[in-house]
């Protein structure tokens, strides 16, 4: 990983956020996440999972509370630095892939961070190898299948060697084989992973810790088998 950091990578404390006055989306969210953890973020539609993830990567800064990423407090000044440590995989892979070829797209992040062409090349090769799509290197992004697009979009983030990877619904629209493949890929990625998903089976296979959100607050934070094995708890919170 980028900095060789370990221990606590993410600290969220008393986080509240609203898009408009009088309609609070997230209320007093607090949790910490460490290197090597894989955390599932589950909850019904519209309870603020995506908003929470966007706050973690600094897409919204007008919140109350504190977000600390790899020891850096989230604010406008630290934003560039923080984004070197944190990668965000969007739900819609088409939004993530905007250049002509897979290689160009995977190289986009490293080039923007001013790496030399040799380093970029090395990072691209490694990222493509990690997700197992070296053979798609020169392929056009618009011609990839859904599963390939998902892997390519993960590679675009891995090439930046982030300490934290945040994924929004990574298993959506994948067929069973691509889904199994993605699970294996995610198991092979180090650092801290935070995966938001409605696919509880996917979460159970990729995450050892799960945070359950409802009405903008954390209602449960614990071992995945404890959360997903508690059908009453899930039912009570819209899952």
């Amino acid at each position: 990983m980028k900095t060789g950091v370990s221990g606590e990578l993410l600290n969220i404390s008393g986080l509240s956020f609203s898009y408009e006055k009088d309609s609070v989306v997230l209320k007093d969210i607090s949790f910490t996440a460490n290197y090597g953890e894989s955390i599932g973020l589950v909850g019904a539609n519209g309870i603020g999972k995506s908003t929470l993830m966007k706050l973690m990567v600094g897409l919204f800064l007008d919140y109350t509370g504190d977000i600390t990423v790899v020891g850096h407090k989230m604010n406008k000044k630290n934003l560039d630095h923080i984004r070197e440590h944190i990668g965000y995989v969007f739900q819609d892979s088409d939004s993530q892939l905007f250049l002509t070829t897979v290689e160009d797209d995977v190289a986009f992040g490293p080039r923007n961070y001013g790496l030399s062409e040799e380093e970029v090349e090395e990072r691209v090769s490694e990222a493509l190898r990690l997700v197992g799509i070296e053979n798609l290197r020169d392929n056009k992004t618009y011609k990839l299948s859904g599963g390939e697009k998902k892997l390519a979009s993960i590679a675009t983030i891995l090439s930046m060697k982030p300490d934290i990877i945040i994924m929004d619904e990574p298993s959506v629209a994948l067929d069973p084989r691509n889904r199994r493949n993605l699970i294996q890929v995610l198991k092979g990625i180090g650092g801290l992973k935070i995966i938001a998903s409605h696919d509880l089976d996917f979460v159970s296979k990729t995450c050892e810790r799960t945070i359950l959100l409802d009405e903008g607050t954390i209602v449960y934070d614990g071992r995945t088998e404890d959360v997903l094995g508690n059908s009453e708890l899930l039912e009570a919170h819209g899952l």
Partner: protein
């Protein structure tokens, strides 16, 4: 297939052409851009009665279409929206220009010749642009533009427009397909639905475009596309120089004795 889908297929076909493994595609984009600009400049600079150099200048078009394995028919078809404009721009010349000119010893109506030269100029220009865009990806064209110090804001606008055309076309296609499926037997879109559909289309396209931009931003995009530096091979230098010399010779020396 509806008309939006057809346009998307055409766009994909063009991108396929740009991604071919052909030596013309592999030429340095700067050379191709420069020679296209020089060609268009030379073609448009030909005098309105100078038909011979204009006919000789077709050598570039013929060469690039044959050697580049490009379909002339496709080139014309892709440019069908612009072609009527460039072809009919001189349509009134025979009525307005009553001069008589000599070509190869024959006396010809100046108005007819100037109309013809205008049409040919328009056609060559359009076909030369097609050669460029069929052998060079938008990323490479933008790379070449940045190399010749075109302001980055202009280059980024070109790149983003190209990206967002795709985003907007896909959204339009989804909306139109959803509409058609719930309005069987209806021809086109009912006028009362236009406002809502266009509004939806713009909102959804803006939302999509925002996500694309966020994705770029989160990967360190700070207002400049940093593209892979391209090495310059011998052929990258020889190709534009040879073509530049040929075209200059044709423009200024060839056909002198005929007119």
């Amino acid at each position: 297939m509806n008309s939006i889908e057809k346009r998307l297929v055409e766009l994909n076909k063009l991108q396929d052409l740009q991604q071919r493994s052909h030596w013309m595609n592999n030429l340095h984009p700067l050379g191709k851009l420069l020679i296209s600009v020089i060609y268009i400049f030379l073609v448009t600079s030909v005098g309105k009665y100078e038909i011979v150099p204009l006919i000789l200048l077709s050598v570039y078009i013929i060469f690039t279409y044959i050697i580049g394995e490009l379909s002339f028919r496709e080139g014309i078809y892709r440019m069908r929206l612009i072609l009527p404009l460039v072809l009919f721009v001189g349509i009134f010349n025979p009525f307005l220009d009553k001069t008589t000119v000599m070509i190869a010893g024959y006396s010809v109506s100046g108005g007819m010749v100037s109309m013809l030269t205008l049409m040919i100029k328009g056609l060559y220009t359009v076909l030369a642009v097609y050669v460029l865009i069929a052998t060079t990806s938008i990323d490479d064209i933008c790379y070449a533009l940045r190399t010749v110090k075109v302001p980055k804001i202009i280059v980024i606008v070109i790149m983003l427009i190209y990206r967002y055309i795709d985003v907007m076309s896909n959204e339009a296609d989804r909306i139109y397909t959803a509409y058609r499926l719930r309005a069987p037997g209806q021809k086109g879109i009912e006028y009362r639905s236009w406002g809502t559909l266009v509004g939806q289309w713009l909102l959804r396209s803006m939302d999509k475009a925002r996500v694309v931009y966020e994705s770029m931003h989160l990967r360190g995009f700070k207002g400049d596309f940093i593209l892979k530096k391209k090495g310059v091979k011998k052929i990258d230098v020889i190709y534009p120089i040879v073509w530049g010399l040929i075209l200059l010779f044709i423009r200024f020396y060839a056909g002198r004795g005929v007119l």
